[in-house]
């Protein structure tokens, strides 16, 4: 048998680095899985699967606690085997999971679907379990040096959080998956060689595994199997359809599809009076959904006539030679629409540089390079950030349809934060308008109305906050069966504007929802509904009974704000019983899935997490004789509060900085990297403090007081600070964001190792258990933070974090224990 010859008290550098590699691989895997499932399935189920799988961390803590005596004497083979097993199962389990016939869309119809979901949970649980065994073993073995271990752990995770985003730009997603295997295999080898494991040749096994994974990723075995119900899969089933080009980045997997036999003809809600069909188009899919059309254009204006027969063309009939800003330009359809209508200048903002590259370079001949046409300026960046930083003014600001109809309607985006449709966002856009300029936003029509009325409510509030007394005088909304377009004018709509608007609608068969001179009889003339829901809603939202109307509406149409940026969250509990009753009569689509699934995820995570934490308690023999109920309770409270607090702060800061950094990726990467790195350094720094030989509780007081003060002060001044500096260049903003996080991160890295070292000195049997509690709490905390943000906003998440950190002063485990 392998015997461990090292001194248990000293952590060799090689072991520390191996631990870092495992942590890096584990975090890479976690982020990558979210991406992989977003590509092959839909994002809300991905969230669910990964949250539950992460409970593998808790299970590992439990197992190490229960088997501590056995594992302690076999630390070397156990760590090496766990690292190797993590690598092997990371890839294999994902490939198996994607081969299962799970279909989220059949979830409520098919009894098998919950079982397939369970199977996916179990599969993904395995790799996280092994990764966690590695980390937990290291903490248990070197508990007296918890600070160093924690530093290696967090710095590894920090590198992983940055590395995965860079890797996703350069490599295909399944190749990144193989890299996870390779990283943990390298960790196993490094560990084995550092610690002098015998036989040395055993190190060849993980190496062979790494090579096999990298090779498999390039073969059909390693391909992603996209659900046959995603738009891309369906488009490719049509005769003669084929993929012309693919691109991949953390912003999405792009596919350009040509469909010769059955052309795409994408023109959402095209008027029945349109004289022409759309020209040749290529389909651009993002993550297998999110269709947008790339039009063939040779400069001949006549081929674009159809763009004048969409509801989004309305603002061009109220202006002449406008200077236009297109937010979310995508494949360029809105730009062509502006040019068709004689725009004097067009600023187009698109987030994804790969989309631009496809349109402007790879398919330049087809597209006619819309972003290079005279008068058009392209800005690669995030739309909201551009609107905030730019000083330019416009006659028309267009916010087009950025998401797919189906996904939006099924509530798949319910949990996606969106800063494009908040009250503050609309205020920003309005400020960028010339006098008499128009903000135009187009959304999908669903029944009963959700999107459109929420947008209308948001516009009303945004105008009111901007000091407009009578928002109804500046607003108009039109619709057809498929799309609705809202316009908000910087000034009151004149009788001449209204006359033009009415003529635009009359000639195209579009219906009026609201304009300042509207009579009820003018609603629903062309496309009739059981009741004129849209017009009635608009009237109610403009009147004194707005709050009452929003309250009585069965969907959540209260305006989204930056603090609660969930425009797509329409679900309300009070409608659930009625909707479930109607499910067999086709009432299912009225149920927005995202939120109920989030709650289901929370319940699962809490139940399973509690089971994993409580199980070792049942076998109290392993927890040491001194560890009474009081100590155990303190241990749970302390480490759960730290796990939850850490993730709460991280999530709140991603939200707070997303607008500042003007890019979702920058925000996630910078915040994760900075917090993990600085917390790792903070852990090291706390050793210096320890030498001052203050009582342990005093050493805790310092970082906790700092965290509380910093969080509260950020809560107060961060929004204004961010606003003031938003126009700085990206590099400067990233540096500032890092500086803001620095003191907080350093402080947040201290309480965990302090607690762990205190425990190890007095009650070593509780160490792996405490680690598992911390990990479980972080998983459940991520879900709780989302729920809290939906209901009370991200500021509340940060306040909750403050409370959690403050509570650790009461539950610090060392104060209640006597030294052994």
């Amino acid at each position: 048998m392998f015997e461990d010859t090292t001194q248990p008290s000293t952590l060799p550098l090689g072991v520390g680095v191996a631990l870092s590699l495992v942590s890096a691989a584990a975090l890479t895997y976690e982020i990558l899985l979210t991406r992989l499932f977003a590509i092959i399935q839909w994002h809300h189920f991905a969230y669910m699967m990964i949250s539950v799988a992460l409970l593998g961390y808790g299970a590992a803590g439990t197992m190490v606690t229960l088997l501590r005596p056995q594992l302690e004497s076999r630390f070397v083979p156990a760590f090496a085997a766990a690292a190797t097993a993590f690598g092997a199962t990371a890839m294999v389990c994902f490939l198996l999971a994607q081969a299962l016939p799970f279909n989220a869309l059949e979830f409520l119809w098919d009894l098998w679907q919950p079982l397939w979901l369970l199977a996916i949970y179990l599969l993904l649980f395995v790799p996280f379990f092994f990764a966690a065994v590695c980390v937990c073993l290291a903490f248990t073995r070197y508990a007296a040096q918890a600070r160093r271990v924690y530093t290696f752990d967090l710095v590894g995770a920090a590198v992983g959080s940055l590395g995965v985003i860079l890797a996703m730009f350069a490599l295909r997603p399944t190749t990144v998956l193989a890299c996870v295997t390779a990283l943990s295999a390298i960790a196993a080898v490094l560990f084995w060689l550092t610690i002098g494991g015998r036989p040395r040749g055993a190190a060849l096994l993980p190496l062979a595994l790494a090579i096999a994974a990298l090779v498999a990723a390039q073969t059909p075995i390693g391909q992603l199997r996209i659900s046959q119900y995603k738009s891309l899969s369906k488009a490719l089933e049509v005769m003669g359809a084929r993929v012309l080009a693919e691109r991949s980045s953390p912003l999405g997997q792009l596919a350009v599809v040509e469909s010769k036999a059955v052309p795409f003809r994408y023109a959402p809600g095209l008027s029945l009076n349109a004289l022409q069909s759309p020209p040749d188009q290529l389909g651009l899919f993002t993550d297998g959904e999110g269709f947008s059309a790339l039009n063939r254009h040779d400069g001949n204006r006549e081929t674009l006539v159809y763009l004048d027969y969409l509801t989004s063309a309305l603002p061009y009939h109220l202006t002449s030679e406008p200077r236009v800003l297109i937010l979310g330009a995508g494949a360029g359809m809105d730009v062509l629409q502006a040019l068709y209508h004689g725009a004097a200048a067009v600023d187009a903002v698109e987030l994804n540089p790969q989309v631009v590259d496809l349109v402007e370079r790879e398919f330049a001949e087809f597209s006619g390079r819309p972003y290079s046409r005279p008068g058009v300026r392209l800005h690669v960046g995030e739309a909201r950030g551009f609107a905030a930083a730019s000083q330019a003014r416009y006659d028309v600001i267009q916010l087009g349809l950025l998401d797919a109809f189906g996904a939006s309607a099924a509530g798949l985006y319910a949990l996606n934060e969106s800063y494009l449709y908040t009250v503050e966002a609309l205020q920003r856009y309005l400020v960028r308008l010339f006098p008499d300029g128009y903000l135009a936003i187009t959304r999908w029509v669903d029944l009963p109305p959700r999107d459109a009325l929420k947008l209308f409510a948001t516009a009303v509030v945004a105008l009111e906050k901007g000091g407009v007394r009578d928002p109804g005088a500046r607003l108009a909304m039109i619709r057809n069966w498929n799309t609705a377009t809202l316009i908000a004018k910087n000034g009151e709509l004149t009788p001449r504007d209204v006359a033009r608007l009415r003529e635009f609608c009359r000639s195209r068969g579009f219906d009026l929802v609201w304009h300042p001179a509207m009579r009820a009889a003018d609603a629903d003339v062309f496309n009739r509904l059981q009741q004129p829901y849209f017009h009635e809603g608009a009237v109610a939202l403009l009147g004194g009974q707005r709050a009452d109307f929003i309250e009585r509406y069965k969907f959540n149409i209260a305006p989204a704000t930056d603090d609660r940026p969930y425009f797509f969250q329409f679900f309300r509990w009070k409608a659930l019983p009625e909707l479930l009753k109607l499910r067999n009569r086709g009432g299912m689509p009225l149920l927005d899935w995202g939120y109920p699934l989030l709650i289901a995820t929370l319940v699962q995570a809490l139940v399973l997490g509690a089971a994993l934490i409580l199980m070792p308690l049942a076998r109290s023999r392993n927890l040491g004789s001194c560890a009474g109920a009081g100590v155990r309770l303190r241990t749970v409270a302390y480490f759960a509060a730290l796990g939850g607090g850490f993730i709460f702060v991280e999530m709140a800061f991603i939200q707070k900085l997303i607008l500042f950094l003007s890019h979702p990726l920058y925000a996630v990467a910078v915040v994760l990297f900075a917090f993990l790195l600085f917390a790792g350094l903070g852990s090291l720094l706390s050793r210096k403090l320890a030498k001052a030989a203050a009582p342990a509780i005093m050493m805790l007081l310092l970082p906790v007081a700092a965290i509380v003060l910093l969080c509260v002060s950020y809560l107060v001044w961060l929004p204004d600070f961010v606003d003031a500096l938003i126009a700085l260049p990206d590099a400067a903003k990233i540096a500032i964001a890092m500086l803001i996080i620095l003191p907080l991160g350093l402080s947040m890295g201290m309480p965990f190792p302090l607690g762990l070292e205190a425990l190890s000195a007095r009650e070593p049997a509780l160490v792996p258990w405490a680690w598992g509690i911390n990990a479980c709490a972080a998983v459940a905390g991520a879900v709780i933070a989302s729920v809290l943000a939906i209901h009370a906003g991200f500021s509340a998440v940060l306040i909750a974090a403050v409370v959690l950190y403050a509570s650790t002063l009461l539950s610090f485990p060392a104060t209640a224990m006597k030294p052994k």
């Binding site: 005769m239 189906g406 009625e578 009432g587």
Partner: protein
């Protein structure tokens, strides 16, 4: 919160119970010697009928046409779904038929068919053949059905299936449905079950004055709303959208 979650559990229990009921009906019908699914089919029709009586169709409150219900009780839905799905064929749910396509839930099929107001002398066009089930239902109610499919294997399979089942008044073509079927136009009714970002203008042109076009709007497995396009005798076109369910978005004030 607990009170509101209860219906979920009740729903699950009901579903399990109903699965059992179908098994019983299935074996009972084997014993009876009719086609194996006749009893299940009758149960399905009763279920649809029960639901329809509480749903206002269009703006009035008429119930489903008797003839439509009769045909739903006659067409063997289980022969239009993959073998693995046959045991679910008479449950009121959508089913996968391969190639990312689905067959709508029977209740929605009944509603759509009813909305089209088919008559014995009618010639109808269907865009999106799928398995051919809707075409078979229409074939029982009208003189001729022309149906088009853009997924080749589905179209070929449906054609074979409809021939085997003896539907002589159905023509299946694997082709782009956007331009309709000009050689057989105009049509008394058009059913567009294929997803489209807009209503193809050529199809509206191929609709007879007084004719009706029905378009379900939604995603795979879920029909969100039904759209009815009517061409009046003078040629003017109006559209109507309706939910398949009775659902008022405001609480109170009914």
């Amino acid at each position: 919160m607990w009170r509101t979650r209860l219906p979920i559990f009740r729903f699950l229990l009901l579903r399990i119970a109903r699965g059992g009921l179908f098994a019983v009906l299935f074996f009972a019908s084997i014993a009876g010697g009719e086609d194996n699914y006749a009893a299940a089919r009758r149960a399905m029709v009763r279920e649809i009928e029960g639901m329809a009586s509480s749903t206002p169709l269009e703006t009035g409150s008429r119930t489903l046409d008797r003839q439509v219900l009769q045909v739903m009780g006659k067409v063997q839905r289980h022969l239009f779904v993959p073998a693995a799905q046959q045991r679910h064929a008479y449950e009121n749910r959508p089913l996968p038929i391969g190639h990312g396509q689905t067959i709508s839930q029977p209740y929605i099929v009944a509603l759509m068919t009813d909305l089209l107001r088919p008559e014995a002398g009618h010639v109808v066009l269907e865009i999106g053949t799928g398995s051919g089930y809707q075409a078979a239902v229409l074939a029982e109610l009208t003189r001729e059905v022309y149906t088009m499919e853009i997924i080749e294997p589905l179209g070929i399979q449906a054609k074979k299936r409809l021939v085997q089942l003896g539907y002589r008044n159905v023509e299946v073509e694997v082709a782009d449905g956007y331009y309709g079927w000009p050689s057989q136009a105009p049509f008394d009714g058009i059913m567009v079950t294929a997803a489209a970002s807009h209503i193809p203008v050529p199809l509206v042109q191929q609709l007879k004055p007084g004719g009706r076009m029905v378009i379900p709007v939604g995603t795979s497995f879920l029909t969100q709303q039904l759209m009815l396009i009517e061409k009046s005798p003078d040629g003017s076109v109006t559209s109507r959208q309706m939910l398949p369910v009775r659902f008022v978005p405001l609480t109170g004030r009914h």
